[in-house]
Every structure is written in structure tokens, then in C-alpha cells.
Symmetry: C2
Subunit: 339 residues, 2 copies
């Protein structure tokens, strides 16, 4: 529906704006090598593009700025993806295949690298509990009536919490229960863990005594995952380097959103899997109405493990970020989770 020339001009404007962060005028577009029309012609097209909703004018005598719709069109049709240099991509890829660490850590480090390369903020959402299975469970007594409960999942993720042991429980009973758990529940998805715990326990119940009550509650408590541990961010201060955020108040609203774990989880759960771009007001959250969020889900052996997201101003370098995130698109060959 846009003419060739309109596309050319729209693309030129957005590319310029991404670089300069300042409204771009007809003159500067005309001086570019790739658009060989006079400023007047370009002005006409700009007026049309504005009428169509792709551009906006901060005030009458200023240049044009892309609108959310403009960016959207750009991302969908115009953008060149080869904006990331091959050496950058190689650096991340080699890092991902280095196999030095646990999957989650590798992803987090990779996100950190991207955040450094792009000067945007990166957010990693760890594996959903649906996609993790119990690998190992352990209770380490700490003296007194406290113990540390440790849950290791098949992705190598370790979660721990301190629990209080009811006084009427015997240590040997607990040890037996833990051994039983590891035997029977290893490999069970975290989400099903509790129901399986109760059903399995029910069968054995007859044999063991009735203090199982307290024991069960203890274990249930120990198995409840903390939701914040799924979120990992890096480069949050990069936001401060972006010229559009030199106003402290804007920064504050964004930061408070980032700090609010449940809101972030909601935000991410609204993103479908695969590579996804949410531009400005397309995000349901007002605090980031002037930001864009690009997410990519990463999978290992076909199993969707989590999501990595890049948050930056709407004027963000979409091509670059998308090609960088593309590294995660193909099935990663990281530490293979035990089946």
C-alpha cells in the first residue's frame, strides 16, 4: 500500500532517527546518497506519511519522528537484519557453545554481552516450572530446628530455601523420606510435583507412621519455588545513556517497573514464543510506552526453556538487536538437560 518511494523515505527517516535521536528533516534525507529527490518532493511524501500515521511532528517547524505504526512497518517490511557484524555474532555463538557452565548461566552471560554491545537492558526469564523436572532434592540440617532445602532441576538450576523442622519429626524419618522422594519423584515436572508427592505418599502411607502429616507439609513448603529467581537483568543502567531518558522521572517509572517482579512476569508472559517485537504503546504497560521490548524464546533440544528480552527506547536499533537475538533462535547446543 505504500509506494516504493514512500518506503524508501520512511526507511531513511527511521534509520536516521535511530542514529541521531533527533527529528529528521527533508533536507537531510535529500542529501543522503540513497534518496535522490529534492527536499520539496520529500516534504510532500512526508506529509502523506504523516497523514497515514507513520510519522509524527513534535511541532510545526520540526522534522519528522517515526510513530509506533511507523516503527512497526519498518520492522515488518523495511528493516535490514544484517546490522550486527559477523564477529559479534561469532563471539556470542562461541560463548554459547563453550559448554563451560550451566545452561541458565550461559544464557545470562550471553544476555549480558548483548546488553553491553547494544547499550540496552537485557532481561532473562528462566525456565518456567512447567518445563523443569526435579533432578535432586536434599535437606541439609543446619543445627537448631532449621534446615536448608535444596532443589536441583534437570536444567541445572538450583533453588534453596530455609525451612523449620517440626520438633516431633525424627531425623531418620526425614532422611528416609528424602531418599524416597528422590527415588520416586526424580524426573517429574515441577508443576506436577506436589500432586505426585501426595499420590505417591498416599500409597506408602500405610507402611509409615502418621507423623507424615508434618513431614509432608515440610516437603511441600520446601518444593514451592520462588518466582523472583526466574528473572535476571543486566545493563539496567544503560537506560541512562539513552538521550530520550535524560529526564529522571521517566527513568524512575521504568526502573520501578523493572523492580516489580510480578509485573515483569506478566509482561513476559504476554509475549508469544519465538521472536517477538513490541513497540512503544503496543506494550500493555504505560511505564514503557516509549520503549520497545524484543523477546526471543530459547530452546534446548526442542524444549522451550525460557525467554530473553531486550528493552530499549522505541528508537532502538531493531535490526541489530534482532540479528543478535537470532543466535538464540536455532536450537541451542548447551548442556543437555538429563532426560
Amino acid at each position: 500500500m505504500l509506494t516504493e518511494r514512500q518506503q524508501l523515505i520512511l526507511g531513511a527517516i527511521i534509520n536516521d532517527y535511530i542514529r541521531s535521536a533527533e527529528p529528521v528533516g527533508s533536507r537531510s534525507i535529500s542529501k543522503r546518497g540513497d534518496v535522490s529527490f529534492s527536499p520539496a518532493t520529500i516534504r510532500n511524501e512526508m506529509a502523506d506519511l504523516e497523514e497515514l500515521g507513520f510519522l509524527e511532528q513534535p511541532h510545526t517547524s520540526a522534522g519528522r519522528v517515526p510513530s509506533t505504526r511507523g516503527y512497526r512497518y519498518f520492522v515488518d517490511h523495511l528493516m535490514k537484519q544484517e546490522a550486527a557484524t559477523e564477529s559479534e555474532l561469532q563471539a556470542i555463538r562461541s560463548f554459547l557453545s563453550s559448554q563451560m557452565m550451566e545452561a541458565e548461566q550461559v544464557i545470562q552471560h550471553a544476555a549480558m554481552i548483548i546488553s553491553n554491545l547494544t547499550n540496552y537492558t537485557s532481561i532473562v526469564l528462566g525456565p518456567d516450572s512447567v518445563n523443569q523436572a526435579l533432578k535432586h532434592f536434599q535437606l541439609v540440617p543446619l543445627g537448631g530446628d532449621k534446615a536448608v532445602a535444596i532443589v536441583v532441576t534437570n536444567t541445572g538450576h538450583v533453588e534453596n530455601r530455609t525451612v523449620t523442622i517440626p520438633q516431633d519429626l525424627d531425623m531418620s524419618d526425614i532422611e528416609q523420606a528424602v531418599r524416597f522422594l528422590n527415588e520416586k519423584l526424580s524426573g517429574v515436572p515441577l508443576t506436577r510435583l506436589k500432586s505426585r508427592l501426595f499420590s505417591e505418599a498416599g500409597e506408602e502411607m500405610g507402611r509409615y507412621a502418621d507423623q507424615c502429616e508434618g513431614l509432608l507439609r515440610l516437603i511441600e513448603q520446601a518444593l514451592t519455588p520462588e518466582s523472583d529467581s526466574r528473572l535476571f537483568m543486566s545493563g539496567t543502567t544503560n537506560i541512562l545513556t539513552q538521550p530520550e531518558f535524560k529526564d529522571v522521572d521517566k527513568v524512575k517509572t521504568i526502573f520501578s517497573l523493572l523492580e516489580e517482579t510480578p509485573a515483569m512476569l506478566r509482561l513476559f508472559s504476554a509475549m508469544p514464543s519465538g521472536l517477538q517485537v513490541r513497540i512503544g504503546t503496543e506494550n500493555d504497560h504505560e511505564a514503557i510506552a516509549s520503549c520497545s521490548l524484543i523477546t526471543a524464546s530459547y530452546t534446548i533440544d526442542g524444549q522451550q526453556l525460557g525467554t530473553i528480552g531486550i528493552l530499549g527506547p522505541t528508537r532502538m536499533d531493531y535490526g541489530r538487536v534482532i540479528s543478535l537475538l537470532g543466535v538464540f533462535g536455532s536450537n541451542l547446543k548447551l548442556l543437555r538437560p538429563g532426560h
Copy 2:
């Protein structure tokens, strides 16, 4: 060395400035109930106080602002500590004695509360490895040649890292080694762990085979603690609400310091134990030359476990923060670490 009246006036000025964040003039001091002198008299005293280095003047016709030295005198001699309400203190105290969680978590939550109450940033430095002993060590195989190494200390702190198992190692050998470790090294301070590992292993060496080489290196790797895990912060964005930090560049330098773990560790290690106040340029780090850092070490059963710090502008409410941190001064009755 300061006269009674000078102290009164200095105190009044600093208290006013802490509230208003704006240079305070002789008139406003004179109008306060507690200082019954005319503006002229106060002006004279102010000029003297400035000459002595306790006050500063942003420009000729402005009011006075406390200098680092002024704050120092205030903290050492003038400040009233009862600035925190008893109900606030009680809230924290009851929280600390709730015994619901592991010591470290309790401290972190308490720090969070203080940070919310004061609108400053709180930083918790976890137990030094000198003060932690091994409680339990475990290797959980993950499939492939990876395993998660888990170290539990007597403070209930859990640390984990993923390690690669050399192919030539037998699983049963590893299990035996882990059992051996838990028997022989439980209770050994983390700092001595490695040397003890080698000495103990040396004795047993004769009996076991010579693949100990790889095994030892594996365990050594697993026992090396991550230094970042000792730092915990909350309320970092509170900095943005302080009027002195409406300049983004200042905020940026502070944030980058906060993100730089080693620098933060250095900063904290420069603070002696007990309650400590570092005002403005007294901090060795330029980035926080306009900030004050108040730290308190917390001890449990006489054992120094870590440090809690509050970072705010030099114009911070010292009395309030110090009295809030005072809660940690007395020996805490938290989860008692196993002896």
C-alpha cells in the same frame, strides 16, 4: 571548641537542610522556636562557622549549606538519635526475631524495610568466607559430563556452580570422595578449606588411586566461592527520588559504582566493624563524594557475619538511619549457626 550557641545554630542549619535540601538563611533559623536570636546575630555566627569550615556558601547571596566537616561534627556531637519512631524499630525487631528464615535472608529483608522507610539505598554484604564454615558438600550429576556442586555453609548460605566432570573419573570414586569430604571437612572455615583439602587428601592418597589429581581439581573448582553472591542491594532506585540527584549523569556514576562488585567490596572492606559513618569525601570513591555511607556489622552469637550499609545523599537523615541500624547492633538472636 564551638560555643554552645554555634552548636545550636549549626545543628539548626543542618536539620533544616536535611529536610529542605535547600541552602538555609539566617532569617529562617531565627524564626525557628529553638533559636532566639536575630538574623544578624545568626549571620555573624554563620560567617564564623563558615570560616571554621563547617558551612559552605554556594554563592554570595545564598544561604549556607553544611560541609563534610559540618556533617561530621553534627554526627559526632549534635545529632539526636531518637529520630526513628519506636513503632518502626519494633517492626524491624519483631521481623528479626521471627525466626522464619535463614539468617542471611532475614538481614536482607530487614535491609529492604529500612530502605523503604528511609528512601535510601541499602546494601547487605554477606558473611565473609573467613566467618563461614563448610556444613555440607554435594555433587549432583546432571547428565552428560556436567554436575552441580552445592556448598552449604553453617550460616545457611547455599552456593552452587556447575562443573564439568573429567571423563576418566568413575562415579563411585566421586561419591566416595564427596562422602570423605563431608566427614573430614565439615566445620572447617571456608578459607582454610582448600589447604585442608590437600592435607587431608594427602594422607588418604596412599590408599586411593592416582586419578585423585583430576578429582581434587574438580573439588577445588567446586569450592571456590563466587564473590558477587555476597552482595545484596535494595532500593537502588530510591536514589532517583532525592532532589540532589535529578541530574542523570550523577546518577549514572553512582549506579555504575553500585554495579561494580569488586569496587563495592573494596568500599565495604574499608569500613571498620561496628557502626560507621562515612560522609561525602570521606569515602575514597569519587562517585559517591556527594553521598554518605552508614554501615553496621551484624553479629550472631558474637560472630561477625556481615555488614549492612545505607547509602544516601550527604544530606541524609543520620539520626534516623543510625537509630534504625542500631537494631542490628545488639547481638542478634537469629537462626543460630551450627557450631
